[in-house]
Every structure is written in structure tokens, then in C-alpha cells.
């Protein structure tokens, strides 16, 4: 009996624990060794003779592969539908835009070589010549027109959703010649060129031929990488475009893997399965820095974190109360202790990456709300709340780095000035809908990136009564927002935004918080610098360091 049972147990254990034989393969360059036979003419005792020689030329090293892991998979491979971070990382690899912001934050031409603006509603784009799509066809102005039409004029039913909900402000698009395009707007728009940094140019012929589903499975663009394979939720494989107009990428192959759980992403970086990961939790930074094979790059994410106050309801209908809570919180301390120093205070609703930050710095310095709990209590008393009041402080949980913890910290500071605060972090979907269905949130934490690097985006989203995000605006502010948007001339815009910033700082519709940092983990074999002020990862800029 004993022997029988033991055999049973062993059989069961063996069945249950079959171990794989191999460790995960290291991505890297493969070395191919090739021998060649060459014929040479040599002089043998004065007579030319042909001899054969076998040589082993220097081994040809194939360009290396980089594996990049982010939290979600693409929903679409065709661009101009979904503008979320993970999608943008992919579109930046396979497609190009007319303009983009370089590492210094300057707007520079890409597929558009230059632009003329003869009057505020007319833009003439000169398209770069000799740029090839991945299928070999040349980029011409008709492709740009087609891309615009798909996006802006809703002429196509190809798109279910669009990043192109920017209003039909384009009146006509005229093709002047193969490389020149004229755009006429129905009203001036200050941020048109910035918006174009998010519009990826697609090839008209290929899109029409393949149809929307076909093109989504074969996303031909002009970008630094060509599409090879997409296994959903598993991997997206791209290879370098050797004919890329801006020079091919240093790496040969790019594999993008969606790994939703942060701990798993981290493990994959640590054991060499992947080379680059996004959204590293700050607690894991020491692990990666101490590991001899990995390091971390921290950069400005260009995203503001703040707390909106609802001025339609008591007690925040009183400006003194709004100013009071701004004095109540020590954001520097929160950045140090809760975020481990990963953040920077933003006393005004603008980051250093956005236009016109420098022109507003003096206003910001003058009107910034200093941490002053006594002043906060004075203001509260003056407003009629000497004994404070009850407050429900809401926010998301897990949407932004340490958002729930920051919310708790803010709640703590408010308690210290007599405001009896209930802190309520919630699941993002629920919280988001509560914010915008009837504007029910009295005080709520929120985050805002700025892909246009222009204060107009923030104004339109948060202070424009025509949009749905509204908690606060004033008639004068709305005039200034419209005026700032309606002129492309920078000095005029600066004047409008200076007045607008004065109004906003005086009215204190927010608790002005801090700017977030972006944390990327990298294997030491990859050399890469992040672009400040953005969360997108320019995958074409990865370089593999030869050992």
C-alpha cells in the first residue's frame, strides 16, 4: 500500500510541477558569421595568376531589438482616433505629424517644411518632398488633405470616436500643387499649429484601398518604424524604417508589450524580459537604481494636479473661503513627504512647458498663495466661518500617482484650520462622472496634461462655459479666452492671458497644487533621454549601448 501511494503522490507532483527548461531569452543583437570566397589576382614569379582565398569578414551585427512595456495595449493602430498616452507612443513610431514640439519645447516643422500665414484665417503649408510611406508611395498634399477631412470635417464614417472633436472650424482645404496645401478657417484659431502636432498623416490611397479595418491591421505611415505584427494584448512588433526621411532609428526592431500590472512590469524589467517600462511606482525607484542592470529616468510630465472648488455652492461661493483653503495647505511638504520629492509646486495653473509661462511669471510670483494657516483662519473668520465648516473632499484613487494619499494629506491640512474634512477617494469612472453630471463635486482633486503646450487648452477645458468641464468662469474671463484663441499673434495673446491670470489668481477657483513627474525604468543597455513636459515616449529615440 505504501509503495502504491507514494507512486501516486510522485506522479501527481510531477504532473503538477513541470518546469520550463529555459530562462527568458535576452533581446539583443544577433551575430551572423559569414565566410566568403574571393578571387584575387596575384603575381607569382612575375606572372599574374588568379587565386582563391577564403576570408571571414568582420561579423555583421544585426541592429538590436528593444522591448518596451506599457500598461495598456493599443485599441487602434490607425491614428487620429484615440489620443491617450499609450496610443500616442505607438502612433509616434509609425506615423508623423506636420509639426511637433522638440526637446526644447519649440514648435518645429516635420512633414510640413514651412507654413505661411498671410492672414489670420489662411494657412499655406509646404509639404516636405521625397518623403515615402512604408508602402513606397510618396507623401503629397492630397494625403494631408485626406487626413484633415477624415479628422476635421467628419466626412468619413471611418472613425467611431475622434480626437478631432475640435469643431468644424476649417472652411476649405485647397490643393495648390503636389506639395502645397491651403487651409482656410472660418475664424482665426491661435492653436491650430499646436493641434497639428497631434494629427498623424495617413496615405489616402492605402486607406481607401484597405478600408478602415484593413488599415487598422496594416497601419502604413511615414514614421520611423514599419508595422510587422500585432497580437492583441500580447505584442506589437515594429521594424526600423531604413528609408525614414529623418534618418533610420538606431535600433532594428521594437517590440511593444502591454503589461497592465505595475509589479509585473517591474519584474519583467528586472529579469531582462523587457528593456523599458513606463509608470514606475516611486517606491520601486531604489530597487531599479540599486540593480546593476537597470536605471530610472525622471522628467517633468507636464501635468498639473489641483483641487477644484465649486463656486456655485456654499461655502466656496465666498472668494475669501477659496483663498483661505489655498493658504491652508503646504504643498511643498506634501511633495516632499507623500511624493518623495517627485513633483514641483505650481502656484499658478500653468507649467513651465506651456505658452506663455515666462510672460506670466511675475503675476504668478506676486499672487501665489503662501502656506499660512493663520491667514487661512483669519480669512475663514472674516467670511463668516470662525468655527470652520464640514467638507467632503473627493478625488480619484489610483488614477494619478499617490492621488489618494495626497488627498488625505490635504484633508489633514484643512482639519488643522478648522475645516472638518471627510476624504473620499473613488474609482476613476465613478468620480469622473460625478464631476460632470450636474457638477456635484464641492472640492475635488483633478489632473490635467497639456498636449498643446498652450494655456488655451487649459482655459478651454476648465474655464470656458461652452464646454462641459465647467465649475467656474466669469463673463470677462470667457471674453479673454475667446480673444486669446482668436488671434495667432503672441503679444496680443500674452496681454489677454495676463489679465485672465490675474482674474483667476484673485478668484482662486482652485487649490493650486503641483506638477507631476514621469518615471521611466530602463535597462542599462538602452540609452534614452525623456522629453520634458510630456508623458509620451519617443520610441525612435531609443539607442542601444554596445557592450
Amino acid at each position: 500500500m505504501k509503495g502504491y501511494l507514494w507512486r501516486l503522490l510522485i506522479a501527481g507532483v510531477i504532473t503538477a510541477t513541470i518546469l520550463g527548461a529555459c530562462a527568458p531569452a535576452q533581446p539583443g543583437g544577433d551575430v551572423t558569421v559569414v565566410t566568403q570566397t574571393v578571387k584575387e589576382t596575384v603575381l607569382v614569379e612575375g606572372t599574374p595568376q588568379i587565386v582563391e582565398r577564403i576570408i571571414t569578414p568582420t561579423p555583421v551585427k544585426e541592429p538590436p531589438t528593444v522591448v518596451f512595456a506599457q500598461g495598456v495595449d493599443a485599441t487602434f493602430l490607425q491614428p487620429n482616433i484615440d489620443g491617450s498616452g499609450a496610443q500616442v507612443n505607438i502612433h509616434l513610431s509609425t506615423h508623423d505629424t506636420l509639426f511637433h514640439y522638440n526637446s526644447q519645447g519649440e514648435l518645429v516643422p516635420r512633414l510640413a517644411e514651412s507654413v505661411e500665414i498671410p492672414d489670420p484665417t489662411t494657412y499655406i503649408f509646404h509639404i516636405k518632398q521625397g518623403v515615402k510611406f512604408h508602402d513606397g508611395t510618396e507623401l503629397t498634399s492630397k494625403d494631408v488633405k485626406f487626413t484633415f477631412e477624415q479628422c476635421y470635417l467628419h466626412q468619413d464614417t471611418l472613425l467611431q470616436l475622434g480626437v478631432c472633436y475640435w469643431g468644424p472650424f476649417i472652411e476649405t482645404i485647397n490643393l495648390i500643387d503636389d506639395y502645397t496645401l491651403e487651409l482656410k478657417l472660418n475664424a482665426p484659431n491661435a492653436v491650430l499649429l499646436s493641434r497639428l502636432t497631434q494629427l498623424y498623416i495617413v496615405p489616402e490611397d492605402a486607406v481607401r484601398e484597405l478600408g478602415p479595418e484593413g488599415y487598422n491591421e496594416n497601419p502604413i505611415g511615414t514614421g520611423p518604424f514599419k508595422f510587422v505584427e500585432w497580437v492583441k494584448d500580447l505584442r506589437l512588433v515594429l521594424e526600423a524604417n531604413q528609408e525614414y526621411w529623418d534618418g533610420p532609428p538606431q535600433i532594428g526592431k521594437l517590440i511593444i508589450r502591454p503589461i497592465p500590472e505595475a509589479a509585473t512590469r517591474l519584474a519583467a524589467l528586472r529579469n531582462g524580459e523587457v528593456d523599458v517600462i513606463t509608470n514606475v511606482p516611486p517606491d520601486s525607484i531604489p530597487t531599479l537604481e540599486d540593480n546593476p542592470n537597470t536605471h530610472v529616468k525622471i522628467s517633468d510630465a507636464g501635468r498639473l494636479i489641483f483641487i477644484t472648488l465649486n463656486p456655485s455652492a456654499s461655502p466656496f461661493d465666498n472668494v475669501l473661503v477659496r483663498r483661505a483653503v489655498n493658504h491652508a495647505v503646504d504643498w511643498n511638504a506634501i511633495i516632499e513627504s507623500v511624493l518623495g520629492g517627485l513633483g514641483y509646486p505650481t502656484p499658478c495653473p500653468i507649467t513651465p512647458n506651456d505658452f506663455p509661462y515666462e510672460a506670466l511669471e511675475d503675476i504668478c510670483a506676486e499672487k501665489a498663495y503662501e502656506y499660512d494657516p493663520e491667514k487661512a483662519q483669519e480669512l475663514l473668520a472674516e467670511a463668516g466661518y470662525p468655527n470652520g465648516f464640514d467638507l467632503l473632499l473627493e478625488g480619484p484613487d489610483g488614477r494619478y500617482l499617490k492621488d489618494a494619499e495626497v488627498l488625505q494629506a490635504v484633508g489633514g491640512y484643512l482639519e488643522q484650520v478648522g475645516i472638518r474634512t471627510t476624504v473620499q477617494p473613488q474609482e476613476w469612472g465613478i468620480y469622473y462622472q460625478e464631476r460632470y453630471n450636474g457638477q456635484k463635486v464641492t472640492a475635488g482633486l483633478f489632473g490635467m496634461g497639456n498636449p498643446l503646450f498652450d494655456i488655451d487648452h487649459l482655459m478651454a477645458v476648465h474655464f470656458d462655459p461652452d464646454r462641459r468641464s465647467l465649475y467656474y468662469s466669469t463673463p470677462r474671463l470667457k471674453e479673454l479666452i475667446d480673444a486669446g484663441n482668436a488671434t495667432p499673434y503672441e503679444d496680443e495673446r500674452i496681454e489677454y492671458y495676463r489679465e485672465a491670470m490675474n482674474i483667476i489668481m484673485d478668484d482662486a477657483p482652485w487649490m493650486f497644487g503641483y506638477g507631476m513627474m514621469n518615471i521611466i525604468g530602463l535597462s542599462n543597455r538602452v540609452d534614452w533621454e525623456p522629453r520634458p513636459g510630456r508623458e509620451d515616449v519617443w520610441l525612435a529615440e531609443f539607442e542601444v549601448i554596445e557592450p
Binding site: M1, Y4, L5, L8, L9, A11, G12, V13, T15, A16, I18, L19, G20, A21, C22, A23, P24, V72, T75, G83, Q160, L161, V163, Y165, W166, G167, E213, V231, K232, D233, L234, R235, R257, P258, I259, P260, E261, A263, T264, A267, A268, R270, N271, E273, W428, G429, I430, Y432, Q433, Y436, N437, M448, H457, A460, V461, D464, D466, R467, R468, S469
Partner: protein, 306 residues
Amino acid sequence: MFAYILRRLLYAVFVVLGVVTLVFFLVRLSGEPTLLYLPEDATQEQIAEFRHRMGFDQPLHVQYFNYMRRLITQGDVGRSFRYGEPALPLVLERLPATIQLSAVAFAIAMGVAIPVGIISALRRNSFLDAAARVFALLGQSLPIFWIGIVLILIFSVHLRLLPTSGRGEFKHLILPGIALGTYSTAVTMRVLRSSMIEVMSSDHVRTARAKGLSEQRVLIWHVLKNASLPVVTVIGLRIGYLLSGSVLTEFVFAYPGMGRLVIQAIYQRDFIIVQAFVLVVAVIIVFLNLIVDILYAVIDPRITYH
């Protein structure tokens, strides 16, 4: 028997439709997802246009009737909000991966639970039995999420024996299979053990031994056969749970199955995909329950259905 099966299949249809109805209203309790799908600076007109296109501007019961009508007459489960494509193919194309993972988890679970359960029962209160029961308790108490991450840390990061995530070779199935199968292993082992202990003290087993039958024969033909009924119940239940419970495992191990799709759909309020997923899982579970019931009749001739 055939009449019984036919009747059960008919009930199954109603059960599935009932589940779909319940889920339809449950997911919509979390509110309308319009705002999650439009950019922050969308105008009121654009919002209205989107709501109309999606049918959100109609009363809930009207939406429900339209949905059920399309489902029953055309088998059309609807289009995913996020992908814009029909939801059923999106879910079904990931079903093989989930089935594969569940099968491996099931195999691991049975491979461990059955021998260990038997030995535990035969060697009651020995050290082996005690250790097995402690592991079973841990297996039922520890969350899959935690088990998964710990497995990754040990076997992928420190030992570098297995990959952290993904799919493609058998080695990708081992860690998620162990994580997913842990709870089933624990439950099956405990039920088998207690069921065997109960049967072993019964009269007919004592009679069999008294007749002089070998211990092996007694074990297989008399003890196990009778003890297996509750175990088959548990196994039947567990298979269903394995399929839908793989949601968390697939998330931790970045495994491209149905569960991964549905977690994203839940966060993104993509109701149609959630409903399609529940429909598929409900059909599978109902079908499996029917098989389990038939197995009962096979194992125990005393059980008949009319």
C-alpha cells in the same frame, strides 16, 4: 434521460437570458459612460450627438428592449463602445487563450489535489496530513493577486526560471496556472479528504475489507467511487469559476485572454463587452453544469432524472 437533457437545455436558455438581463441593468447602475469616451473639451452638441449615436438618450427600458430584440432575433450582442467592432468576436477570439489557461490550472489542481487528498485521508493526522491542510487553508485564504506576484518574484526575478508574463510557449502557462489553480486545489483536496474519511468509516467498506479484498481494490472501487460524488460537484463548480476567475490572473500575468479584455472594459465602462463576456461565461457554465449532472447519473446508478 434524453427528455431530461432537452428540458435542461431549454432551462439553460432562460437562465442565460436572465443573466444577460441582470448584467444589463447592473452595469448601467454605474452611470452613463459618455463622458469617459469624449475628450475633455467636447462641446454640448458633440456630447448630444454621441449620446444619440449610442442610444443613450433613450429611456433605459427602451434600450433594454432594443438590445434583447437584436440579441434574440439576430444574435447581435452589440458593438464595443471602445473598439467600435462587434463585441462577441472580440470576446470569442480570446476564449481559446482563457480555456488553455483554465485547463492548465485545472490539470495542476487535480494533479495535486487528488493524490494529496487521498493520502491525507489515508494518513489522517499525520504530519503530511497536517501540512496538507495548512496549505489548503492558505490556498483558500491568499488572494490570487498576491500569489501571482509572489510567484513572479520568486520564479522570474530571483530564480529566472520562468517568464513573468505573456503567452506563446508552455512555460508561459505554468505560473499563471499555479496561481489560478491554487484555490481549486485547496477546495478539491479538502472535499476529497473529508468525503473519503466519511466513506471509509461506512459499513460497506468495512464489509469489503472483511471479505478479504486487497486494500488497493477497496480504495479504488469502494472508497473513491463513493467519495467522488461531492468532489465531482466541486470540480464542476470550480471549472466555471476558473473561467471567470482567470480575470485577475490574466491581469497580473499580462496574459491575453478574455479576462484581461473584460477588466479593461469594466474600467472603461464598455458595457457591451462586459455583457458579451458574461453571456459567453454563462453559456459555458450552464453547459458544464449539465455535464456534471450527467456524470452524477453515470457514477451513481441510484441517481435518475425524470
